[in-house]
């Protein structure tokens, strides 16, 4: 099409933004801002998909972009916000480790991902960086799940992982067949909803939104 390089750098730019919002999670203290970061992340993701669609010119990618925006950018944040409200939890994130520490570790994770993937795995594709970024986002999402106490933060971490996953999917292959993509999205949505339900139940049964209480089963 027109200016490939331009578009490519835009894609790089957007994916870097996705990574940044993920890393920013490490520094956020309030649940609401976490949800906001997630919305932003999702918006960027759908923007990226739209960009890709523009480049490749495939209609199903436009649909995917729209679906992503609706589900991840609108429905899930709204759902999350309702849960946060419903659970009446303190709005602190309460990480296990300090923000500085978690930022550092996130940095190390990104470095590891870049380091381990640098050998010439990818001969084609439109960006050198997107796969690395997406795996890094996935790892950071997982890291957030590891270090945050609240049930809801775990859900958010999981959602970040999924965004990273979608990023990888789009960046690597210009998207899957539509049916598959819808199926995956549906699964994820169901998963998040059920997790939300369980999160509320945890709050109700344990009278706490912290996962510290969930350590009876061991050994």
């Amino acid at each position: 099409m027109k200016n490939w390089i331009h578009v490519f750098s835009v894609i790089d730019f957007i994916s870097a933004g996705i990574l940044l919002t993920a890393v920013a999670m490490n520094a956020l203290r309030r649940l609401e801002s976490c949800v906001k970061a997630y919305s932003l992340n999702s918006w960027l993701l759908s923007l990226l998909v739209a960009m890709t669609a523009l480049v490749v010119g495939e209609t199903h990618l436009y649909i995917a972009s729209l679906v992503t925006f609706l589900s991840k950018g609108v429905i899930i944040p709204v759902f999350l916000r309702r849960i946060v409200k419903q659970m009446k939890v303190t709005h602190e994130v309460e990480p296990y480790i300090s923000n500085a520490m978690s930022l550092t570790i996130s940095g190390i994770l990104v470095a590891i991902v870049y380091g381990s993937l640098k050998q010439g795995i990818f001969v084609t594709g439109f960006s050198r960086n997107v796969l690395q970024i997406s795996i890094a986002v996935i790892f950071i999402g997982l890291f957030i799940m590891i270090t945050r106490k609240k049930a809801i933060t775990q859900v958010i971490g999981l959602l970040f992982m999924e965004n990273g996953l979608f990023l990888a999917g789009f960046s690597l292959t210009y998207g899957m067949p539509t049916l598959i993509e819808l199926g995956v999205l549906f699964d994820m949505l169901m998963g998040v909803i059920i997790l939300g339900i369980f999160a509320i139940q945890i709050k109700r049964v344990f009278a706490s939104a912290d996962l510290d209480k969930l350590t009876t089963l061991k050994g």
Partner: protein
Amino acid sequence: MDPESYLYIIGTVFFLSGAIVSLSPVPRTKTFIYLLSFLGALCFLTFSLHLLFSPPQDLFSIPVSSFFEFAFRGDPLSGFFILVISLLASAVSIYSIGYAKDLKHQGLMGFLFNLFILSMFAVVLSGNVFTFLVSWETMSMVSYFLVTFDRDETSAKAGLIYAVMTHMGTAFIIVLFLILYKETGSMNFAEMKTHSAQIPDLLKHVIFVFSMIGFGTKAGIVPLHTWLPRAHPTAPSNISALMSGVMIKTGIYGFIRVVLDITGTGPEWWGIAVITIGAVSSVLGILYALMEHDIKRLLAYSSVENIGIILLGIGASMTFRSHGLFALSAIALTASLCHTLNHALFKGLLFLGSGSVMHAVHTRNMEEMGGLIKSMPYTGLFFLIGSVSICALPPFNGFVSEWMTYQSLLLGFESPSIVSKIVSPLGGAALALTGALAAACFVKAFGISFLGMPRSRHAGEARESSPFMTTAMGILAILCLLFGIFPGLVIRLASPVSFPLTGSTGLVSGLGFLRIDGSSTAISPAAILITMAVMLSATLVFFLALRRKRKTVYADSWDCGIPALTPRMQYTATAFSKPIRLIFKNIYLPRRDLKVSYLVKPFFVRSIRYSGEITPFFERYIYEPATGFIQRVAGKVRLLQSGSLHLYLGYILITLILLLLFGT
């Protein structure tokens, strides 16, 4: 093929129908269970004779999966062990007719009983590794169920230790068979044997050591014997007889099969190692037996001793073979095989006897028996015969096999190596010590339980057991005597195994005598018996001639003038063995605990409690530290699953990172 070679099928059918009948809900059928197993054992007995005197033959095979098949094969070696098993099994079957009547779960007992015997036959008839392992573990599992037959906590614990140890042994056996498979390219014993020359020396050593551990666990060699004194006593007595009499012999069978038959001649140190282990097992086994007051534990420890004696013979045989002294090797192997057969007979007899005693007295504790020979004359007589046989006193069968073992150890002097020159006579010394200790042990076992005055109410009310039980014991007792007087019989049964395996003959035997080939060393138990009988009758005639007119007065035992001699004044089992405990205190590491409470210190004593025990050496210094270590490690590892979801997520992350860093 001859018609006899199908007898095993009939025998198997008998056993299987015995097992099925046991499960039938009709109570009347229960009487047939043991009749069927008796018939089955007889079939196998005939079949074993056929196997002994005919060339090796494949019996049958059924495919299991694409990789394995059940293959059964008979040769003289398996024939001999079938003979041992079926001889004892037939007697125990008769015994069980009477014995099993009072058991709680008769049907289950019958089922397991038949299966147990059948699985032992399967072990010795196995023609390939798979069949062997399945039969071997089936045997272990069935016996595990029998050990835990009482379902109480002690038997559960005993069974657990037994099952785990034997399973550990099986692990070693599996590895050694896998090595053999790798090196010879076959799972069949026969083919393994033909290709055994390909095995590198180093692996041969591994095979030897592993079979020592693997089969030794089942046989109960020291220090792998710890399951034995626990498991054998808790099983019902007919089963203890089978376990001690023949099941542990399957370990000997496996050892002979793998090391002597398949692997072939090894270096000298194999034989020396076996002799050493045999010596240690025999001495320690009988030493521990001496300290037991539980009659069945005593017998179980004595099995450890006898396995040691069997190993002395095998070890001597291996040493000779490594030096090319095949005739001597044949003598030694014959000796150990004979002892295998003999031990099956007298240990079976003793366990059956102890079963009858327990049946009458309701305890295994010898301190609560006494005076039983009057109320149970047949059991007493047969137990005495068993005791005399196990002490290797002429003219009973134990003597013949021990005599041969002595000879083979003494002949160790003829081997060119200085090591075996020293070790073999030392083995002989150990055997002598064992013999003396065994005599003390069985004087105690028989004397304390059967002689003197009843030490408890139950002992006073004891009744002779049912005719089936006494008949079975009688058969075994007669066999003990028969094989003792006519060693030629046993030699004739053992030589088809030992002579081909060692490639030579070393013994000249007639029915009633035995001579080391090319030497003046000979023995004739038959002559001893005849002389003994003549002398005994001469003494008796002399005695009666003198005593014709004199009368005999009956009175109480001399009691130092105390008004009445009570059973509590008798020498107890503990007291009997005390000198020995003191002499061997470095081995027993006895501990005693004296608790005295006073009314007025230090003059008026209210009560004195004395308790003493000997340190179970191997348990305390080998097994407990080892299990403790594993438990501690396991406790640490347990922290991995601490219940924290965050930690678990971390595992995923770490695993991934590690794989990304090192995997790609």
